[in-house]
């Protein structure tokens, strides 16, 4: 290892990065773009869901229930004259569901019978439908409580759940999406950008000239690894800053733990990028492979949006070879739960092993040869 040669390579890489707009775009513009898109565009928190309300016979009892819907931040109720019209509204996608209070609602309530409240939800978006059901249940329970309170009788529900939601009491989906997104962004810089720049050296024939000098393969690899490591950490700091200051995601755990774990993940991602580029010597192919084997899994199989627990067993098993999975787990824990060492240590160990594996294989595979 010759420090002068290494320094020369690193300086060259930085000059290239600074003068090549596409590298800047991938390393800095794309992360901000993705953060904004996800921070603002993606939300699983239903608010003001349009819901059709049909009251066959308006009375004080029904208006109390409808009032409950109206006061809920989750719903935007609209009164329809008949069930038929309400159905039309759902068909026309003006409403996501119907709450139907039948003609005999008040009578049954007053007579002490249990009056049915018809709830019809459009189940096409199953997740949304389920969340809506939960909210309607909440409205219903509130209504029951309010009634009991007004009547001066204790509430007659035998068991009621007292949820204690840890780490994200307001259940803001942004708080779990934004940290997870950091894993996607780091994959982009570490694997995609690195694979592309090495492939570019092959394409332009500079790799051949480089190899004909006394430089060693280790120096060439380090000469790529170090600059893009620094870039990746830059991307990380940018993302964390945006997450904390713009999107107000709490960072409960220690920043330094986050930094160290990110460094490990970045090494693994860089290792993958270098490995891809050693197999694919043209930018188009390298880009394709990088997107398929690193970017897509980081998106879908990492637990970033879709819960790994819910996946079928074979796919759940597959996620164990996705480095982003371990990093997403660390990120969500460090941001929201704090320094939970058992999670951090085990996942870091996995990241370390993956980094060693990818870098080791890259090291073994790279020889100073053109064939």
């Amino acid at each position: 290892m010759n420090l002068q040669r290494l320094r020369g390579l690193i300086r060259k890489e930085f000059i290239q990065i600074l003068r090549d707009p596409s590298a800047i775009a991938i390393a800095f513009v794309l992360p901000v773009f993705l953060l904004f898109l996800f921070g603002y565009g993606v939300s699983l928190d239903a608010r003001h869901v349009p819901i059709a309300v049909v009251v066959d016979q308006p009375t004080a009892e029904t208006s109390a229930f409808v009032g409950g819907l109206q006061h809920s931040p989750y719903f935007k109720p609209e009164i329809y004259g008949s069930l038929h019209q309400a159905r039309e509204a759902v068909m026309d996608r003006k409403a996501d569901g119907i709450v139907w209070l039948r003609a005999d609602f008040s009578r049954q309530v007053i007579q002490g019978k249990t009056a049915p409240i018809g709830v019809l939800v459009n189940g096409v978006d199953a997740n949304n439908a389920r969340i809506m059901e939960g909210y309607i249940q909440g409205v219903w329970q509130n209504w029951l409580q309010q009634r009991a309170l007004n009547a001066g009788k204790p509430l007659i529900i035998p068991i009621n759940a007292e949820p204690r939601i840890w780490f994200n009491p307001a259940l803001r989906s942004r708080d779990f999406l934004v940290p997870g997104l950091i894993a996607v962004i780091m994959t982009l810089i570490g694997a995609l950008l690195t694979a592309l720049v090495v492939a570019r050296e092959w394409e332009r024939g500079t790799m051949e000239a480089l190899m004909a000098t006394p430089v060693t393969m280790g120096e060439i690899l380090l000469g790529k690894l170090i600059p893009y490591f620094i870039m990746g950490m830059g991307g990380l700091l940018l993302s964390v800053a945006l997450a904390v200051w713009l999107f107000a995601v709490p960072l409960v755990g220690s920043f330094w733990v986050l930094l160290v774990c990110s460094a490990l993940f970045l090494l693994a991602a860089l290792g993958m990028g270098l490995l891809i580029s050693s197999a694919a010597r043209n930018q188009f192919v390298a880009g394709q492979i990088a997107i398929i084997v690193t970017f897509l899994p980081a998106f879908i199989l990492s637990g970033f949006i879709f819960d790994i627990q819910s996946m079928p067993a074979p796919i759940r098993f597959m996620t164990h070879i996705v480095a982003a999975r371990y990093f997403v787990s660390i990120l969500q824990t460090v941001f929201l739960a704090g320094d939970v060492w058992s999670i951090i240590l085990w996942n870091s160990l996995a990241l370390l092993l993956m980094a060693l594996f990818f870098l080791g294989v890259t090291w073994r595979r790279s020889r100073k040869r053109l064939d």
């Binding site: 010759n2 040669r5 020369g8 000239a209 004909a212 006394p214």
Partner: protein, 590 residues
């Protein structure tokens, strides 16, 4: 390093590559020894194994069998030692385009492990040698081809290597830059450096101390240029005939028995006979014995592989064209020539940069018209405007009476176009390319079948019908591109650098076809930076920095450069002289 150490030694070296399912033998039991302190030229047709040989010498490839030793070290075990002592410039120069000239030099100095102090003076020296001093801060991507080549050379020379390997350093570089490069290389030889370079130029080969002629992975011959041409003594003649065009003369000469090769030179047609007995001269011809050159030897040695029947392009007749006159034009028709292409005060700006300045010229029917100039002279820009691919900023241009930019589809069917690098669909087979272009030109039915058969036969593409174009050697690609452009029998043919990067044999073959086309009445417009090819043109325009420096017949252009020192300048001399005058004029005026 003592004199006894051989700079480069190949002992029974073989190397093969997998290409698809088959293995290609790139080098076949090669035995080579270079002499210290000499310049060795590496020549051979496409696919002869030149680049593979270079890479084996750098240790970037290892031989399948045999040993390669460089400066006494074996490439298998001591690649690092070797790479510390050689300079290597790959085909594309190995420069980082985003980095400036100085930054590229600094990078390679660091990679060579040179200390800052030592490197300063060396870099100054090299910048002076290559005249790149004023461009230190310019990104190397913005340099001209010749400057890139010199920078690549400077990077390879930073450490003062024992052995310098140059892989086709002069491809696509204009004559001035080539001349400068040779001056540098010769200066280096005087200091005891050993140089191995591959080249496609015969005049460069003649300047080498020794030539290695490779063919299909085998060493055909290794000797001095003089020794190459010596056996041909008495077989070479210069033939001239004032009554017919040189082109026509060449055609007739080539067709005669006993004549192996005929090519056009400035002052006549050069003939290589099969034996030392001079064939009978026809009336009006004067035959003059001349000394053989390396090019003759090359043709002689590789002649067997160029299986070109010399039949002129037969079934291509301008008569099939509705717009043109009915009968095929006889050679050298003396009747009033018809102007086919007319350019007047043509200008082209890219932003503030004026790529083409006030060009005017006209081309007569049946002529071969050449656009000559260095890289960046504005040849391709002019060309693209003529074909309607670029709008002109000002001025008028007429091709077959219309401006191609706004021409109807029918008018566009009158031109054929072969672009730089023979743009064909790489992953389509030969046949698929042909049938696509035939349909694109609106051929159908029996005529289409007939033209396709003609193309396959005329251009000898039968063997390659199902081969993907990407896998074809450049020479075959060039044939195919020409075939595609001729399918619809256009009366006007545009050829943009059709011979760049093509090996010498394919180039000769190509010109034979173009000559035949012109004889058949097709107007051919061609750009090239091979100055010897200018002699094939009836008329030409010499361009530099967007301006027309000279125009007229090759004789007229050469005459413009005639002076006391150069009583009989070659086209290359004329080119260099005119451009240097022009540049000094610009400098004086600014």
């Amino acid at each position: 390093m003592s004199e006894a150490v051989t700079p480069l030694h190949f002992a029974d070296v073989s190397k093969s590559f997998a290409r698809g399912k088959e293995r290609v033998q790139a080098l076949d039991h090669l035995e080579i020894t270079l002499q210290a302190g000499s310049i060795t030229g590496l020549l051979g047709p496409d696919g002869a194994g030149k680049t593979t040989l270079m890479r084996l010498a750098t240790g970037l490839l290892l031989p399948d069998s045999g040993t390669v030793s460089v400066l006494g070290a074996d490439t298998r075990s001591q690649a690092n030692v070797i790479q510390n002592q050689i300079g290597y410039m790959p085909q594309r120069f190995g420069l980082y385009e985003e980095l400036s000239v100085q930054e590229n030099l600094d990078l390679y100095a660091d990679l060579q492990g040179l200390s800052r102090e030592a490197v300063r003076s060396r870099q100054q020296e090299l910048l002076k040698l290559t005249a790149l001093g004023p461009f230190g801060a310019r990104p190397s991507g913005a340099l001209s081809g010749g400057m890139k080549q010199k920078l690549g050379l400077a990077c390879a020379l930073l450490r003062a290597p024992q052995l310098l390997l140059l892989d086709e350093p002069t491809v696509g570089v204009d004559p001035i830059a080539r001349r400068e490069l040779w001056e540098i290389i010769q200066g280096l030889r005087e200091k005891g450096l050993t140089v191995l370079m591959s080249t496609a130029y015969f005049d460069e080969a003649e300047r080498c101390d020794e030539i290695l002629l490779l063919h299909q992975g085998k060493l055909l011959k290794k000797d001095t240029p003089a020794a190459f041409s010596a056996p041909l003594d008495g077989r070479c003649f210069l033939v001239s005939d004032e009554t017919v065009s040189k082109r026509h003369l060449r055609e007739t000469l080539q067709a005669r028995p006993g004549i192996q090769d005929a090519r056009i030179l400035a002052n006549g047609v050069r003939v290589l006979c099969r034996t030392t007995t001079q064939p009978e001269a026809w009336a009006g011809e004067s035959w003059q014995a001349v000394a053989p050159s390396f090019e003759d030897a090359f043709v002689d040695l590789l002649g067997a592989s160029m299986a070109t029947p010399d039949a002129p392009v037969t079934s291509h007749t301008a008569a099939a064209e509705p717009v043109q006159q009915a009968s095929p034009m006889p050679p050298r028709d003396e009747s009033t020539p018809e102007t086919v292409i007319e350019v007047h005060d043509l200008c082209k700006f890219f932003g503030h940069f004026e790529a083409v300045k006030d060009n005017s010229f006209s081309v007569q029917k049946g002529q071969i018209f050449g656009l000559l100039g260095a890289n960046g002279a504005g040849k391709s820009t002019t060309f693209r405007m003529l074909c309607g691919l670029l709008p002109a900023s000002s001025g008028t241009l007429r091709v077959a009476g219309v401006d191609m930019r706004h021409a109807s589809a029918e008018a566009r069917a009158r031109i054929g176009y072969v672009s730089q690098k023979f743009s064909l669909y790489g992953n389509l087979s030969c046949d698929q390319n042909l049938s696509f272009f035939s349909a694109a030109y609106g051929l159908r039915g029996a005529l289409r079948r007939q033209r396709l058969d003609w193309a396959r036969q005329e251009f000898q593409l039968e063997d390659y019908r199902d081969v993907n174009v990407d896998e074809l050697p450049l020479g075959i690609k060039q044939r195919l591109a020409l075939a595609c452009a001729l399918l619809h029998e256009p009366p006007i043919l545009f050829l943009d650098e059709p011979t760049s990067g093509v090996d010498p044999l394919a180039r000769r073959e190509f010109w034979k076809r173009v000559n035949a086309l012109a004889e058949a009445g097709v107007t051919v417009m061609i750009t090239t930076h091979f100055m010897d090819e200018a002699e094939y043109c009836d008329n030409l325009v010499l361009m530099s920095l967007g301006e027309v420096l000279a125009q007229g017949s090759p004789e007229q252009v050469r005459a413009q450069a005639r002076s006391e020192e150069h009583p009989d300048p070659s086209m290359e001399d004329a080119f260099i002289l005119l451009i240097q005058n022009h540049e000094s004029q610009i400098r004086r005026s600014s």
